[in-house]
C-alpha cells in the first residue's frame, strides 16, 4: 500500500520526521518497504496569472497571453483552449528546464514575441495529461517558483500490509495507526451532500439481494447530468502517488474513495442498465461474461453476480462488465457500495486468476459500517468535480450482523507476554486503535471489536494488539522456566552425518540437487516401465518440464553435476549426495520416501603430482568406498553381477547384504553419458540407506589385543578365470578358526591367472607353534588344490 504523506496529513497531524514515523510504523507491524521522495523535475517554472488573452488571427489557433509573473508582465503565445483570464498557470520562462525537453528560449513569430511557455501537466512531468494547460489552484502565489509549492513535493511510504490487516489498505486505515502512535484521533473526512437534490432514488432504480450471506450489505446512490472529464490535479496527483492511473472524473472518484476509506465502489452507466434494476445473486450455471478489460470470463456456479433486468453487469467485487461501464457519453451514474463475503470473492478471483484493487480489499474484509458513508463521500466528490444533480436518498439492503464482545483477563495478557503491564495502559492501548471497551472488571474486561478489524476474534488477538502497541522492544528477554526435556537421539541423523564425515575424509564433495527429475531422465537411463523408478510422483504445476516429477533415483542429477563441472574444465571429481527419493504407492495418499546415498567418481585422484603419476579411477575405487562404509557400520556387503540397464555389465555390480539388494555400483554406460554429453568414464554407486540405518551398528565392543604373536604365511595359486577370488579367500578363512585374515596381495595374468594370498594366524590362548601352523598350511593347500581349476604355484 502506497501512502503519500501529503494525503495522510488530511487525517492526522504529523509532527515527527518522516523517517522516524516510518520506523515507528515498522515496529507496529506495518513494515515500510521503501520511502519514495517526490519532487518536481523542472526548474525555472513560475506561477503566473493570466491578465489578458487575445486571439491572433494571422497565427491560427494561437493566442497571445499577457501573464503576470509577480514582478513583471510577459507575453506568451499559446495554443491551448482551456485557459481564461484570471487563471493561474505554470509559465516556463527563458532558461527554464523541463524534463526531456530542450531549454526554453524567447521566440518571435511573425513579429509577436513569446517570452517562455505555458505548460501542461505532461510537460512538467507531473502526469500524462496533455489535454490543456495545467490550471493551478487559485491559492498558489503568483510569481512563486512552482516547484516550491508544498503539494508538488511529497514523501510516499510503501507499506507491506500483512494479509490480516485489510483495514490498513486505505489512507484512513493507516492514519488510524499513525494517530495511535502519535496519541491523536484520526479525523474522519468532513463533507456535505449538495442541498439541491432531485427526486427520489426509488423512482429511478430498484434493488434486490438474493443471498445475504454472499452480500450482507448493498447500497445504491445516484447522480445525473455528470460531465465525464479529466479530474482536477489534486485528485489525479493522489491517485497517481498511490500507484493507480487516473481515468476520468467518475472512475477517479470511485478509486479515490477506495484509496481514502478502503471501500471499493463501482459506478454503472445507469442508462445502460436494462429494466433499471440491480439484482445481486449467485450464478446458477456456468456463463460467459465480458469484463471491462475486454476479456471473456467463464463464471461458475456460486460466483456473485450483479445483474440488471437481463443479465450480469458486473462480477461482484472483482470487476465491472463492459456492458455497463462508464464511457465519455455517460450522463447518469448508479453507484454501488457493498460488502461482499471475503470467501466468495477470494474463491472467484483465485479461480479466474483475476486480481483487482477491489478484490484485494474485499477478500480481506472491509469495514461493514462504512459502506454508505463511502457512497455518500463519493457522490459528494462526483458532484464537486463532475457537476450534475444528486438524486435524493439511497437504496440499502443489509443483514443484521452482530459481533460478540471478547472477555480478556489482564492476568492472561501479562502471563502470555511475560510482562507486568498495568490495567490502564492495556485499556488505553486498545482504545487508541478504536477498539471499544464495553465493560471493565477487576480481573479483566470485555472489548467489542469494530467491523473494520476482521482479524480480531479471540483473546489471543487482543494479546497481540496489546503487545504491538506496548512495543515488542519493551517486553523483557527471559529464558523458559519449564524443566529440561530429555533429548531424543536421532539414529538416522547420526549415521548420515558419520557417512558424510567418512566420505569427506575420503576426498568426496557433497552436492545438493533439487529433488526433481523429468520423465525423460528416467528414459535416459533405459529403465523399464515396470521398474519401481517409474512409479514416480508427478507435480501438477511444475516450474518446467525438467522439474516435472519427484526423483525416484539420484543418478540423473549428479551425472548432470559432473557434466556441468567438466564443461568448466574440472575433469577430476568425486561427488556424493544424500537425499530423498519418492515412490508413489497404489491406494496410499502419501508416497514412500526413502533416503539414498549417491557416489560418483570421474577422472583421477589428482591431475598431477611432481613425484608420481596417477591412474584414472576404476571399478575398485568405487567398490572400496562402499566396502569402507559397510565396514565402518558393521555391514558386510556382497557384490554380484548387476542387472541395472544403465551400467557397463563388466565393470559393475549390484550390492547386497543379508540377501537384500541395497543398490548398485559401477561404470555408467557410454550411451547414457552421451546423452549428458560426457566423454570420460564415470563410476557411480547408489545405495538405499534406509535398510542400512536399521542394520548399522554404532557401538562396537572392544576386543582385547592378543598377547601372543601372530604368524604370517603367503600362498600363491594358479586360478581359473571362472573361479572368483573372493570365494577362494572365503574358503581359506573357513579352514581354521586360527586364521584371522586372508588378504590378496598380488594378482597377475600370463598363461594362467595367479593370485597370491597373505594369511594371518593368531591364537588368543597361546603362542602358535610352527607345527600347528604348518599343519593348517598343508590343509589349505590340500583343500584348494582339490578344486578343479586351482593349482599351487611353486
Amino acid at each position: 500500500m502506497k501512502v503519500p504523506l501529503e494525503w495522510l496529513k488530511d487525517f492526522v497531524v504529523i509532527d515527527i520526521e518522516p523517517y522516524e514515523l516510518a520506523e515507528k510504523l515498522t515496529m507496529r507491524g506495518l513494515e515500510i518497504e521503501s520511502i519514495e521522495k517526490i519532487s518536481p523535475q523542472f526548474k525555472g517554472v513560475i506561477v503566473g496569472c493570466i491578465k489578458q488573452i487575445e486571439r491572433i488571427t494571422e497565427l491560427d489557433n494561437l493566442s497571445l497571453c499577457i501573464i503576470d509573473t509577480g514582478n513583471r508582465d510577459v507575453s506568451v503565445l499559446c495554443g491551448a483552449k482551456n485557459i481564461k483570464k484570471g487563471d493561474k498557470v505554470p509559465i516556463a520562462l527563458p532558461g527554464a528546464e523541463l524534463p526531456g525537453m530542450p531549454a526554453i528560449e524567447e521566440k518571435t513569430i511573425k513579429g509577436y514575441k513569446s517570452v517562455g511557455m505555458l505548460c501542461s501537466e505532461r510537460e512538467l512531468g507531473l502526469s500524462d495529461d496533455h489535454s490543456g494547460i495545467f490550471i493551478l489552484p487559485n491559492e498558489f502565489t503568483t510569481g512563486k517558483e512552482l516547484k516550491e509549492e508544498p503539494v508538488l513535493n511529497d514523501i510516499v511510504f510503501d507499506i507491506n500490509v500483512t494479509p490480516n490487516r485489510g483495514d490498513c489498505l486505505s489512507i484512513f486505515g493507516i492514519a488510524r495507526e499513525v494517530a495511535s502512535i502519535l496519541n491523536q484521533k484520526a479525523k474522519i473526512p468532513i463533507f456535505e451532500l449538495p442541498k439541491n437534490r432531485k427526486g427520489k432514488i426509488g423512482d429511478f432504480i430498484s434493488l434486490k439481494v438474493f443471498d445475504l450471506e454472499a452480500c450482507p450489505r448493498y447500497v445504491l446512490r445516484m447522480i445525473e447530468n455528470v460531465d465525464i472529464v479529466p479530474s482536477p490535479y489534486w485528485m489525479k496527483r493522489r491517485i497517481q502517488r498511490c500507484g493507480m492511473r487516473p481515468i476520468n472524473s467518475i472512475v477517479d472518484v470511485t478509486n479515490y474513495v477506495m484509496l481514502e476509506l478502503g471501500q471499493p465502489l463501482h459506478a454503472f452507466d445507469y442508462e445502460r442498465l436494462k429494466q433499471r434494476r440491480i439484482e445481486v445473486k449467485l450464478a446458477e450455471k456456468p456463463i460467459t461474461f465480458r469484463t471491462l478489460d475486454g476479456i471473456d470470463r467463464t463464471l461458475e456456479k456460486g460466483d456473485i453476480l450483479i445483474c440488471d433486468g437481463e443479465g450480469p453487469v458486473a462480477l461482484a467485487g472483482i470487476m465491472g462488465g463492459e456492458n455497463s461501464e462508464i464511457t465519455d457519453t455517460t450522463r447518469v451514474i448508479a453507484l454501488e457500495s457493498a460488502y461482499f463475503n471475503p470467501l466468495f470473492i477470494r474463491r472467484t478471483a483465485r479461480r479466474l486468476g483475476l486480481k483487482s484493487e477491489a478484490s484485494l480489499r474485499f477478500e480481506k474484509g472491509i469495514d461493514l459500517e462504512n459502506v454508505d458513508f463511502s457512497a455518500q463521500r463519493a457522490i459528494a466528490l462526483m458532484h464537486e468535480i463532475a457537476g450534475g444533480i444528486v438524486i435524493d436518498g439511497s437504496i440499502e439492503i443489509k443483514d443484521a450482523k452482530k459481533r460478540e464482545g471478547i472477555f480478556v483477563s489482564f492476568g492472561k495478557i501479562n502471563e502470555v507476554l511475560g510482562t507486568s503491564i498495568d490495567h490502564s495502559t492495556i485499556l488505553n492501548a486498545l482504545r487508541s486503535i478504536d477498539l471499544h471497551i464495553v465493560r471493565e472488571e477487576e480481573k479483566g474486561f470485555v472489548v467489542s471489536v469494530p467491523w473494520f478489524r476482521h482479524d480480531i476474534n479471540e483473546y489471543m488477538d487482543i494479546v497481540e494488539e496489546v503487545a504491538r502497541i506496548y512495543g515488542y522492544d519493551n517486553i523483557p528477554v527471559t529464558t523458559p522456566r519449564s524443566p529440561l526435556v530429555q533429548f531424543k537421539k536421532n539414529k538416522k541423523n547420526k549415521i548420515v552425518s558419520k557417512v558424510k564425515e567418512f566420505l569427506v575424509s575420503s576426498g568426496f564433495f557433497e552436492v545438493i540437487n533439487f529433488a526433481f527429475l523429468s520423465e525423460k531422465d528416467i528414459e535416459n537411463f533405459f529403465i523399464s516401465k515396470d521398474d519401481e523408478r517409474f512409479s514416480y510422483v508427478q507435480i501438477l504445476n511444475p516450474i518446467s518440464k525438467e522439474y516435472g516429477i519427484m526423483r525416484t533415483f539420484m543418478a540423473p542429477n549428479v551425472i548432470r553435476n559432473i557434466a556441468y563441472n567438466i564443461n568448466r574444465g574440472i575433469k577430476n571429481a568425486r561427488f556424493f549426495e544424500i537425499g530423498k527419493v519418492f515412490y508413489s504407492i497404489k491406494n496410499e495418499k502419501l508416497p514412500r520416501e526413502d533416503i539414498h546415498l549417491f557416489l560418483a567418481l570421474t577422472g583421477r585422484e589428482r591431475d598431477y603430482y611432481w613425484k608420481e603419476q596417477y591412474k584414472n579411477f576404476d571399478f575398485f575405487d568405487i567398490k572400496g568406498i562402499i566396502e569402507g562404509i559397510g565396514e565402518r557400520f558393521g555391514i558386510n556387503f556382497v557384490f554380484q553381477k548387476t542387472k541395472e540397464p544403465f551400467l557397463e555389465k563388466k565393470y559393475s555390480a549390484d550390492v547386497f547384504s543379508e540377501g537384500l539388494k541395497f543398490g548398485w555400483i559401477g561404470e555408467i554406460k557410454k550411451d547414457v553419458l552421451d546423452i549428458y554429453e560426457i566423454e570420460q568414464k564415470v563410476y557411480c554407486g547408489e545405495i538405499n540407506i534406509m535398510p542400512f540405518i536399521e542394520r548399522a551398528i554404532l557401538d562396537f565392543k572392544y576386543r582385547s589385543i592378543p598377547r601372543y604373536p601372530q604368524v604370517v604365511r603367503d600362498f600363491s595359486f594358479f586360478v581359473d578365470e571362472n573361479i572368483p577370488a573372493s570365494t577362494i579367500a572365503d574358503k581359506i578363512k573357513k579352514i581354521s578358526p586360527l586364521i584371522i585374515s586372508v588378504g590378496i596381495f598380488d594378482m597377475f595374468r600370463k598363461e594362467k591367472r595367479s593370485i597370491s594370498f597373505r594369511v594371518v594366524f593368531q591364537s588368543y590362548e597361546e603362542t602358535l607353534r610352527d607345527e600347528t601352523v604348518n599343519e593348517i598350511q598343508e590343509r589349505i593347500i590340500k583343500e584348494l588344490t582339490k578344486i578343479d581349476g586351482i593349482s599351487l604355484r611353486v
Binding site: 471475503p342 477470494r346 477478500e363 515488542y472 576426498g507 507435480i539 511444475p542 556424493f576
Partner: protein
C-alpha cells in the same frame, strides 16, 4: 743419504698420484705392502754393516712413519670428500610442493544446518524430521490456514493431487509431533521445502529449520530469550537484533526477527534495502487454534514457534548474492566452504 732424499721424493710422487680410495689402496700396497717399497728396503738393510744398519735403518723408519701418516691423512681426506659427494647427491629442493591429503567438503547448506542444529540441541531441543510430500491438512489446515485463507497467497504451492502438496515449510512436522505426544515439546525440524518460484532470490526447493517449544507457562519473553541466544551464537555476541510485529496464520502474537545488517553495520545498503536491518527469522506464540487442532488445551499450555531460511543465512554469512549458486554444484563453489 742422497738415496734417502730420492726415496722421499719418490714416496711424495706416489702419494700425489692418489685421487680416489682405489688408487689409495694401490699406493698403500706399493709402499707398505708385503712386496712393497719398504719391505724391499728392509730386505736390503739386512745386507748392511751394523753401523750402516743403524743410520740407514733409522732414516728408513722415519720415512716409513712419514708415509704411514700421510696415507692416513689422505684417506681421511678422501673419505670426507666422498661423503660430501654422497651428501650432494641426496639433496632435495624443500620448496617443491608437499603432498596435501585430498579431502572433500560438506555442502554449505549442510554446514549451516549443522551449525543451527547444534545451537538448539545445546538448548535442549530434539531434532525431528517429516515427509517432504505432505497432506494439505498438515501443511495448511492444521496450521490455521484454511483453503480460502489469504495467507495461501504468501506461499506458491506445488500440488501433487487433491489434498497432497510438496510441503511449503517444515511446520507440518510440528503438527505431527504434537499429535503424537503430550507437552512438553521442544523440537527443531530442519529440511527441504518447496515453493513454485525460480529467480535470483528464489529456488523451487530450499531449506528451513523450524522450531517449537510448548509447555505450561511459556511466554513471549521466553521466545525473545531463546532467539536472542540463537542470534548471538550464530552471528556473534555483539549482533544487535529487534523483534518486529508481523503476521503468520499459525502464531499470535507474531514477530519477525531482524538483525543489524551484517554488510553495512546498520548504515543502510543495497542488501538491507537501506533500512540497516536484515530479516532473519519468523516467529511467534503458537496460535490457540493450532493447539485446538492437535488436541492441546490453549488455556493449559502456551508455546512458541520459529522458522528460518537456511540459504538466506548462508548467503548473509558467506556473502553469496545469488541463491541459485547453491544448486549448480560447481566444485569451485563447494570447495570454498
Amino acid at each position: 743419504m742422497k738415496e734417502i732424499e730420492e726415496l722421499r721424493l719418490k714416496i711424495d710422487d706416489r702419494l700425489a698420484s692418489i685421487n680416489n680410495l682405489d688408487s689409495w689402496s694401490g699406493v698403500k700396497a706399493e709402499l707398505l705392502g708385503r712386496k712393497g717399497l719398504f719391505a724391499n728396503l728392509i730386505d736390503r738393510i739386512k745386507l748392511l754393516s751394523k753401523e750402516e744398519k743403524r743410520i740407514y735403518g733409522q732414516s728408513i723408519n722415519t720415512l716409513k712413519a712419514y708415509a704411514e701418516n700421510r696415507l692416513t691423512e689422505i684417506k681421511a681426506q678422501l673419505e670426507q670428500k666422498q661423503k660430501e659427494i654422497a651428501d650432494k647427491a641426496s639433496w632435495i629442493d624443500i620448496t617443491l610442493p608437499g603432498k596435501v591429503p585430498l579431502v572433500g567438503k560438506i555442502h554449505p547448506i549442510t554446514k549451516v544446518i549443522s551449525e543451527i542444529t547444534e545451537i538448539f540441541v545445546s538448548l535442549g531441543f530434539s531434532v525431528v524430521e517429516g515427509p517432504e510430500i505432505e497432506l494439505d491438512y498438515y501443511n495448511f489446515e492444521a496450521l490455521n490456514i484454511p483453503s480460502d485463507h489469504p495467507a495461501r497467497d504468501l506461499q506458491d504451492t506445488f500440488y501433487i493431487k487433491e489434498g497432497v502438496v510438496l510441503r511449503t515449510h517444515t511446520s507440518p512436522v510440528e503438527i505431527r509431533v504434537m499429535e503424537s505426544q503430550l507437552p512438553p515439546v521442544r523440537i527443531i525440524s530442519p529440511g527441504a521445502v518447496y515453493r513454485c518460484d525460480n529467480d535470483i532470490s528464489h529456488t523451487p526447493m530450499f531449506h528451513q529449520v523450524e522450531g517449537l517449544m510448548v509447555d505450561k507457562g511459556i511466554r513471549f519473553s521466553d521466545l525473545k530469550g531463546i532467539l536472542t541466544i540463537f542470534i548471538h551464537e550464530m552471528f556473534g555476541e555483539d549482533t544487535a537484533l529487534r523483534f518486529r510485529p508481523s503476521y503468520f496464520p499459525f502464531t499470535e502474537p507474531s514477530a519477525e526477527v531482524d538483525i543489524c545488517c551484517v554488510i553495512c553495520g546498520g548504515k543502510g545498503c543495497r542488501v538491507c534495502k537501506e533500512t540497516g536491518w536484515l530479516e532473519i527469522l519468523g516467529s511467534g506464540m503458537t496460535h490457540p487454534q493450532v493447539f485446538r487442532n492437535v488436541g492441546y488445551d490453549p488455556e493449559e499450555v502456551t508455546g512458541f514457534a520459529f522458522g528460518l531460511g537456511v540459504e538466506r543465512i548462508a548467503m548473509l554469512k558467506y556473502g553469496i548474492d545469488d541463491i541459485r549458486q547453491f544448486y549448480y554444484n560447481d566444485l569451485r563453489f563447494i570447495s570454498q566452504f
